[in-house]
Symmetry: C2
Subunit: 596 residues, 2 copies
């Protein structure tokens, strides 16, 4: 049976037929690799995700994290799955051999990780956070910090968190109030952190919190923030957890989805623990004072692509579930047939069900392609020639808000359609699709909301370096259009038309006298920009599919059908958005709050 988790065939298409990932093995960093090792990793991920992660996805939705005698209790299956994940070396799949890593390209690592997110996004978030935390320490930590905190996270002994939000400071990071007080060479922290995923549990020997806090006397706003390592247990000289630090669990958040990821409110320096006789959570400064947010944002592109990939994975598995259901569920007869004695047909035969399935396919395969394209840019940024590195970073900066937001909106819509295909059954917990929808709803909120991504794109990225990133995208898109095969000439023409229109409207917004008015509809701009980018990604996929081998004709025909679907039914949606943006409508600004 075909997998209901993810499509290996599609991954192979994207990685090998489109992104030519094997070419990376010509580079020194990846010289030990080849198609065989890449395939082996993908096989392991598929197998482990299917056998150890998907199998407890519903269990951890139903047995939500809860407290017993003050300790967080999680389903045992989570720990088993994560030990296997760590045991397979996947926590450091992309890292240097000197760190025990496999030196895999980011694009393979992400493709492999997509299996885990599709199978069980809540369990997958523990390693995701630990890896992000460790990577940040590898980039900014001292050698001692790397040894004591990062290395144990890479073997799964310790887990990690990211502590940014506070109850009164979510999107507005500059309003964080957590304080850091000097204490000899180190620091004591006091404050409350909200929405901390993996903030407390017994899955590992220790939990390493990376905490943004303001050193007493530092500037207000984001410039006054510094980054600290705050371990749950302070380490002894040998690096073993020894003494409880002054970090305590103030509560668990009960979410609509993503339930297997324990989400916490943590109090730092509450005084419940006094590790060396006084209150205050002991912290160790990472990098320089005032550089906290810069450190965090260094990892932001990858973290946001990770969110987009998770949103895609949830939509993708839902699509596969809907497709399998539609092929087996019998209901009704072909349109126009009125003989009630005739046999019922599988619902995949009904036009409206096919519409929903094609829409899902265009969203999830498009989202996956975009996210892997971005991961491929990460590899280029790290291992390419200097010019290519610069370009890859520029393009990555520009595409990241789209890679995060577009799947969070449209692969959620794929989840919605997957429920609809299932009818009443899809609304029950006997089937899986309702959970995927609930889980995916988080992705438009965390790691920067949709509105925050929109301001990032229109307010920063599009205009940065005098439009250099956008100019680069123009070049790439034009290249794709020029290379489009004859069977996709209509689609190439449509992309030309709408991309030009997007650039025209972008110029209007750039030149607007009132920047506040130009930015008021940033979300609409993000939506339009996203759909145009996805049309480009679909034309890229179509270009490759058009020359696909006859031996797998159904697969390529499906790609081309989804490509055409996106151009005929999705891309035209940007027309109304761009018209609105061009008008520089200030209705949102003029509106009186009292009228709402």
């Amino acid at each position: 049976m075909d997998s209901l988790v993810l499509s290996r065939r599609d991954l192979d298409f994207l990685l090998y037929e489109w992104l030519d990932v094997t070419a990376l093995t010509a580079r020194e960093r990846f010289a030990e690799h080849g198609r065989e090792t890449f395939d082996a990793v993908l096989d392991v991920c598929a197998h482990m995700a299917t056998e150890l992660f998907a199998t407890h996805n519903k269990i951890s939705d139903q047995q939500e994290p809860h407290l017993v005698d003050g300790r967080v209790v999680l389903p045992a299956e989570i720990g088993v799955a994560l030990q296997a994940f760590a045991g397979a070396g996947l926590l450091c799949a992309g890292l240097d051999a000197s760190l025990g890593g496999m030196q895999l390209p980011a694009v393979i690592e992400k493709a492999g990780f997509a299996w885990f997110m599709a199978a069980n996004v809540a369990t997958a978030s523990y390693p995701l956070l630990s890896m992000a935390n460790a990577n940040l320490l590898l980039a900014y930590g001292s050698p001692e910090q790397v040894d004591r905190y990062a290395r144990p996270m890479l073997t799964g002994r310790f887990f990690g968190t990211m502590c940014l939000s506070e109850p009164q400071a979510g999107s507005s990071l500059g309003d964080m109030r957590t304080r850091a007080v000097a204490d000899g060479t180190n620091w004591r922290l006091f404050g409350n952190k909200m929405w901390i995923s993996g903030g407390e549990h017994e899955l590992a020997e220790n939990i390493i919190h990376l905490v943004l806090a303001r050193i007493e006397g530092a500037a207000a706003g984001v410039k006054g923030l510094s980054l600290f390592i705050v371990p749950r247990y302070l380490l002894d000289a040998k690096g073993n957890p020894a003494i409880a630090n002054d970090v305590c669990l103030a509560g668990l958040n009960h979410k609509m989805g993503y339930r297997g990821t324990v989400n916490t409110l943590l109090n730092f320096g509450e005084g419940r623990f006094t590790p060396d006789g006084s209150a205050g959570a002991r912290g160790f400064l990472v990098g320089q004072p005032g550089q906290g947010l810069a450190c965090m944002f260094h990892m932001m592109n990858e973290a946001r692509i990770g969110v987009g990939l998770g949103a895609t994975a949830l939509g993708y598995t839902a699509y596969l579930h809907a497709l399998a259901y539609a092929r087996t569920r019998l209901q009704g007869r072909p349109q126009g047939s009125r003989d009630p004695a005739a046999a019922q047909v599988p619902i995949v035969r009904h036009a409206d069900v096919r519409r929903m399935l094609l829409a899902q396919k265009s969203y999830v395969e498009g989202g996956l392609a975009l996210n892997l394209y971005c991961a491929r840019l990460v590899d280029e940024q790290r291992t390419g020639e200097p010019g290519a590195r610069r370009e890859a970073l520029l393009l990555l900066d520009l595409l990241t808000p789209v890679a995060k937001s577009w799947p969070s909106a449209w692969c959620l819509e794929a989840n919605n359609l997957a429920i609809q295909v299932h009818g009443g059954y899809g609304y029950t917990r006997d089937f899986n699709v309702e959970q995927f929808w609930r889980d995916n709803r988080l992705n438009a909120i965390h790691e920067g909301t949709h509105g925050i991504q929109a301001l990032d794109l229109l307010g920063r990225k599009v205009g940065m370096q005098e439009g250099a990133a956008l100019a680069l995208l123009v070049e790439r898109v034009r290249r794709t259009i020029a290379a489009a095969p004859a069977v996709l000439s209509d689609q190439a023409a449509l992309l030309t038309r709408w991309f030009d229109r997007l650039l025209e409207v972008t110029a209007v917004l750039r030149d607007a006298a009132d920047r506040q008015v130009a930015l008021a509809n940033a979300s609409v701009y993000l939506d339009a920009f996203g759909h145009v980018v996805l049309a480009w990604i679909w034309l890229e996929q179509g270009r490759v599919a058009a020359v696909g081998e006859q031996s797998d004709a159904h697969f390529y025909a499906g790609k081309l059908a989804a490509c055409r679907y996106f151009f005929s039914r999705e891309l035209p949606k940007v027309g109304a958005m761009l018209d609105l943006l061009e008008g520089l409508d200030d209705d949102l600004i003029r509106l009186q709050d009292d009228g709402l």
Copy 2:
């Protein structure tokens, strides 16, 4: 504090300023009524919904119906609320005084009921089903059936259900297999019914199932279906429940939302009970053999408007929650202000939050207006002059698929945006908006899916009686356009443009050589038709708001802002849909299933 359940101010606007509901009191049936009695009913509904229904909405989401010793256990609050509802006479609010009813207009009854659905849609579904059941018996039952079964439902002694779906027959009603075997003057039924809301519980002395079944030897398909009363307990001569009928609970369905409504799989004639010595659920034929579906469909317009109103109510309460949150939650500073020491502002000050709130407002106030307009048509159909009755029924038939589907899609989007306004908090169960979203997701599925509504609209309603219903809508829309005030002349022009375009495309679809191709995109047609109808409804509201009194200027300014919002940001979406439809795209039909 303003209500978070529903807006009485908006209801007053719709009922009295727009629909001129008091004019109905000139009719004999409503002669006892006046603004005072209408207001009193609305007051009671608002109060009872707020104090008895909203208060256990979260409880019944958390304490899902479950079995204890074979009996369905529900939170006690549900029973208390429903007794109060029955005690206030609301089960027969619209019925004849001779039946103990208040003879209220349907439009007032629905406006009152909207309070209950907004407060607690799951609890409200019990009286909704009982009323639908009783109304059907009043229309088609014998006088004895009315006395024995309908009357006790109108006082709340008995509750009712509708048993249509079977595990293998949902949208395809003609494939029902439940059999009815003659047994003297009555019948014995055998079969399984799925998705039966309120199918078993201990809230009432008895449950009266209305069951569609096929009399042995009857035709295949829908024409062979007949309707039967199947009580849970057979009545003695005095009408008291006496003997267990052969109906048994085969299982509870566990849903994503609407959890307080116990949803069951029922087995009829399984033989667990043998009321008079043999298996088979005793049933009593309603109306004539073979008329089962016709009886059910007689009530369909009202049932579907009820679903649309429920979807609207869930979106509406979510909007009010989001608005209240946005006015109090402090986060960030005005766009362009870079002083981190300045005070944070309520998020309602941010353009993107205002965009989300205005979108919600345009969806939920639009949905409520449409549904009450339809309810007003029900009154016209029942109590108007003969010509007006005929017109009202025509228009109602045409608008019903929109009244059901449009709020199920767009007020669900209002729920989605309400979560987004709340940020991370909205994703938790500490707040209410995530439940509203889960609850509302059902409405696009039950009482005919979105796709079924689309086929109803395009395949039947638009063309019926040689387009008479559509012609009537044309006349009404033109009248609205002609009456538009100068401040809404742009909107009137836009409605003219898009309505003409809709008619143009409708003609193309009507004249298409291949009906299968014309119907393949029926869902797109429903979406486009719905948005144009809502634009008309918004221009109607705008027309009235434009002459609103200065003493309540904020309210009218808000109406006009939402009206303009709908025209500038929603209506233009139909352009791409209509272009697609005009092209008679047959991609969905040509598609090979293997490519999905």
